[in-house]
Symmetry: C2
Subunit: 415 residues, 2 copies
């Protein structure tokens, strides 16, 4: 048996045990894990230093080093994250009543774990604790296959979590780290359809596409975020300006940042004059359609086919539209099914936009930056799905479960 | 552009229109479709005769001929099925309130169609109308790729549905039949990840495995049904006998028929004596474990590794177990995550069984034959999922939808 088969089978067997563990016990384990992380800052930092020493030889960018680096503050925040998951409601065992059939049988649905979830990610050691805790709370086994750059850090974190599992007489295989992150083992992992129920890749588009193309296990995809703000003719322009500046500048390298601004022609002059000043102050580069050019001191013209870029930087595409219909068509063509925002005081327009836009999160008068599991009240998120099957949008604990039917009768048979 | 690309793109564009059509209009269209089927029995029967004439040259089995054959009664029942779907609640647009965040933004979820669903099936012409109507009601476009044996029948049914779509100024591409069911086009269909959101294969295990192995589009799988009845030590044995006979004999060639009987040793003698008589009367072949052999007049002995067969016939596997735990382990090993039944008057045992068994449908004192969309109150079903992602168990209208997040604020931005 290969190491991957062994890890997967052990994870599946461990998950069967965890599926029946009480919420109280799971929460106690999570709190103990948080404390154990706090108590083991030193060994985790030492492992991280070994990872960093190796990684620096590859002359990585500052951003890559930053992603890989742990420090005391980051480990404490990781521990707080794990403790916070203990406080979330447990979806497992939730019952939904579907009523009684004419023959008297009672129909319910009960929420149950998926089984084994495999995370495939790059050099973010914090995913080991975050995903480990979310999968644990939702009753799932997890197999963590991070980048090799973060392997020592991940193993050190996993070792701390394993000690807590053992104290509670739970199998270590509930949280497994693939110890050799080479491509051959990754390919093999993606073939374990008998034991792995779901693969969630997190990272760049290349990684996600690679996993999607090669996995035989179902994959939940999170591609890019090309989010728009549509400023309606009935918008409160002060609110719109706040949403624009926050969505574009509060943090730029994230998938819920604004990449496009659509403005109704009736308010274009007034709003774009305000936007020109505000965006200049934040040094945002402007790419504008022909009609919008005149309102900006400094802008590059953007042709019809060049919209839809994910800048992930202080840069935005601006377009004047003649109607909400045109805005909807633009979003349909250039959006990425992630997050779309309308600013309007017109309730009917707001409702029409929310109904018509095909995106995981559709907002009225709120910043696109709220499109994340914690901000939407899911507690924490394991990813954001931009495809629709099983989950659409930020994925919290509920997304890591499914429902089975329960039927209760008194001996009824089918005629 | 290939014919498959064209069909898929047109289906996706048509689905965007349908997503915004009102429930009232969809119901009117469905009722008109039902009437149109009733009004066009003759041309559909003529097309079916052409299919049958061709198919008979291949010397098929009676069962295969029977599946392909339409008659007036079957077409009327197909029409009734379509009309019944008009009566079901429309899941599209349903709102679920997730409450208000501390910053005052309101979070909701809205149910929306998946987009385009592709059905891949064998020689059952009725799927064309059933799946067409279910996808239409749930706001999805559907691409139907049935077996070539039923092609003329499917095209004739689709023609009737298309006339109704046109009368209501809706695009025909909402219900598309792939006109050349060859394998090359099937492979191409399974690569349309940009336009097709979900593939549901219906048919034998070979077809489902082929689609699962080759599709780049997500697939919902329905593998076999190896369903067990566990007769607990606290069972009402009369009820248990009713469940056994109904589950095994009411219809044998279906996935929710019983294939295994597990009996607690404390009631084995009494129950298996009753079962021996009842099953003999229905000419059910018995395959029993060593211990159970003595209670049957005529049985073949079954070794440990030979359990788990899907007989789809008047044949059953019988085993005596020492405890519910042993029954659970047997089901874990030999079950197929479809439907499992316990017969017991002990509420605690019932609850433990329902929680512990990993199957799409877990029943207490009710026949496994109720495991189907109509019987469980879903109205109609488009398939039964035995994998857990997105749907688990009988799939009704809700399974053909997903939820998007709606956020409503008053200009809130992220700090």
């Amino acid at each position: 048996m290969s190491i991957i088969e062994q890890i997967s089978i052990e994870a599946a067997e461990a998950a069967q045990i965890l599926a029946l563990v009480s919420t109280a016990k799971k929460n106690k384990v999570l709190k103990d894990m948080a404390q154990a992380l706090r108590d083991n800052i030193q060994p985790i930092l030492e492992a991280n230093q070994r990872d960093l020493a190796q990684f620096r030889q590859m002359q990585p960018s500052y951003a890559m080093i930053d992603r890989l680096t742990l420090n005391e503050e980051r480990i404490l925040s990781m521990a707080d994250g794990v403790a916070a998951i203990a406080e979330l409601a447990d979806p497992v065992g939730e019952l939904r009543d579907l009523g009684e059939r004419p023959n008297g049988i009672q129909i319910q649905k009960m929420r149950v774990p998926l089984g084994v979830i495999c995370m495939i990610y790059e050099a973010r050691p914090n995913v080991t604790a975050d995903a480990g805790a979310l999968c644990f709370k939702s009753g799932n086994g997890v197999i963590l296959r991070g980048g090799k750059e973060a392997l020592e850090s991940s193993l050190a974190i996993a070792k701390v979590l394993h000690q807590v599992l053992e104290q509670h007489e739970l199998p270590k295989a509930l949280i497994s780290v693939v110890p050799e992150p080479d491509r051959g083992l990754l390919m093999e992992l993606m073939e374990q359809t008998e034991t792995i129920d779901l693969i969630i890749p997190r990272g760049g588009e290349g990684l996600i596409q690679f996993v999607t193309d090669n996995s035989k296990v179902p994959v939940i995809q999170h591609f890019k975020g090309v989010c728009h703000l549509y400023v309606d003719k009935d918008a409160d322009l002060e609110k719109a300006l706040g949403l624009l500046v926050n969505g574009k500048t509060q943090r730029t390298g994230v998938c819920n940042a604004l990449e496009g601004l659509l403005v109704h022609r009736k308010v274009a002059k007034e709003f774009l004059t305000m936007a020109n000043a505000a965006l200049a102050e934040h040094r945002v580069k402007i790419n504008a359609c022909e009609r919008a050019m005149r309102y900006f001191d400094d802008a590059k013209v953007l042709n019809e086919n060049d919209f839809g870029e994910e800048y992930l930087d202080l840069e935005i595409a601006v377009r004047i539209v003649d109607s909400m219909e045109q805005a909807l068509r633009h979003i349909q063509r250039f959006g990425s099914n992630h997050t779309e925002v309308i600013c309007t005081e017109n309730q009917l327009a707001a409702k029409r936009f929310q109904r018509a836009v095909d995106a995981a999160v559709v907002m009225v008068n709120a910043s696109s930056r709220f499109s994340d599991g914690a901000q939407l009240g899911l507690g924490a998120e394991i990813g954001i799905a931009t495809t629709k099957l099983h989950a659409y949008g930020p994925m919290g604990l509920e997304s890591l479960t499914t429902e089975k039917f329960l039927v209760t009768g008194e001996g009824q048979v089918r005629a």
